[in-house]
Amino acid sequence: MNAATEQRLRVGGLIAVGIFAAAVPFVFGPYRVGQLTLVLAYAVAVLGLNVLVGYSGQISLGHGAFFALGAYTAASLVEKASFPHLLTLPVAFVVAGAAGFLVGLPALRIRGLYLALLTLGLAVATAPLIKRFEGLTGGADGLNVVQPEPPGFLSGLALDQYVYLLTLVIAVPLFALIALMLRSRVGRSLVAIRDNEIVAKSMGINLATMKTGAFAVSAAYAGVAGALYVFSVGFVGPESFTLVLSFAFLAAIVVGGLATVSGAVLGALFIVLVPEYAADVDDALAGVIYGATLILVMYVERRGAVGLARRIWGRATRGRQDRAEREDRGGIPAAGVPTGGT
């Protein structure tokens, strides 16, 4: 198959997926539509995380915290300040992005395992902080958030249909933005940093800007995703934003495919649907099935998985000399060429 056919297949595939995505609210019942809305929201967060982990080579075990930040920003603005729903999206984006930038600063100095643990701390701190600022957040009981209503000219739509389409309409440009960014010089710089920071620096790339920028962007995406999540669920409570969520995002990017854009959607589908199907098989064994599936998927997908995560860990862990030697012998993953699908 030559490159042209390849390209046509890819474009065709995208169009097919697009049609399917737009048709969803008219084909499925409100429950499924709600599920898929959640998938879209998570996909945005997962995509953001992938930019950070897959492309810039950093790591975050605490992305649930940015997601929660965006969710609570939107929730409190709508419920306490009577903000129109759509306006909360850019606010969530900026607030979470700023937080991401702040976290990105110390991240410049620590990497690998230690960055992972720092971000783990973020995830752990989320629930207590939510409960402490009860006035804004509703504390442990959470906040009911009224869902966005379809505007006059769309009044034929049911609520779940409208929320889904709204989420789709927000998610698609967000995806496109990242896809374009990754193909540009910015994307290439990120990959260069991921593969070899010192070389990247010597090529003139500003490490600090790019790395904190990656953190900021990935957090901003998680924040918007959180706001979209609130529109769909209509409720925020601290129990929804535990470590489990951060881990799920991480699982999503690895299962979906590190350093890929389509992987974000696949990963999101996985973390939403597999636990449900597992519970349908057997209530009591659901967790066992889900955990086993996760392990099996890694077993299968490992072949051909991009070795870039080695980058993250290779600097702070054992094998660094060993890796350096292997690099000397010419086994460096190709730098400067963005790996990844559409």
Binding site: L113, Y114, G287, V306, R318
Partner: protein, 293 residues
Amino acid sequence: MKEFIQVTVDGIAAGSIYGAVALALVLIYRTTGIVNFAQGEMAMFSTFIAWGLLQADVPLGLAILCTLGLSFAGGMAIERLIIRPVEGSDPLALVIVTLGLLILLNSGAGWIWGFNNRAFPSMFSDDRLDIGGVHISWESIGITGVTLGVVGVLWVFTQKTKLGLAMRAVSMNPESSQLSGIRVGRTLMIGWGLAAAVGALAGALIAPSLFLDVNFMGAVLVYSFAAATLGGFDSPHGAVIGGWIIGVTETLAGHYVDFIGADLKILVPLGIIIAVLMVRPSGLFGSREVARV
């Protein structure tokens, strides 16, 4: 002043708990370079096995010994069957595998033994020691003592035995180790087995006062991660000392700083970690990394 000492002592007692679990984490990391998120659940599962043995009227000491043996075997099996196939690819894939293992073990334990909490007998007496008005329970002394003992044994093992040497070699440079004739696979298996056994011991130490249920390790695990980070992820004695520091600062802060209060006291160890990581990323006792350009 007395109150301060008491609170500090209580903090050390709490910290020993974190340190005991952190030890297992550090062991795995040192030998295999992997952070095992399932460490806590493995320890929990082992403790449940010990509990099962106790229900069958096996005396406590024997039950714990058997559990250590079974956990060692279980750890080896996990390395061979679950980790090995994925090893060598991105460490992130390995992280996901350990996460999957975590979920699996947690649900599996619930399915087998139910979700209720139950008692687990202590190896130590119920009493407490009273030194100049400051109380320390024998249990806390016991936990601290045993943990330090394990650190000592591990030190002797890694520094003075051939197997220990092999483990150190494998962790630093698997390829060269293999070339020197060390059986890398077998060494890794033993590393996992050891860590599982240490985790099981930690579980048996902690369960009496925390009560055994499927989630009892989950809460401790975060603190143990903090302890290992603080002490340096490849340093056993660092893990224990890190645990103490976290236990003490957390208890002191919770006791004296009212603004923080019980709900936010977890932020204290987190704050310390950030500070330490900024100044000395490899932790207090971890080995400095040198990057080759």
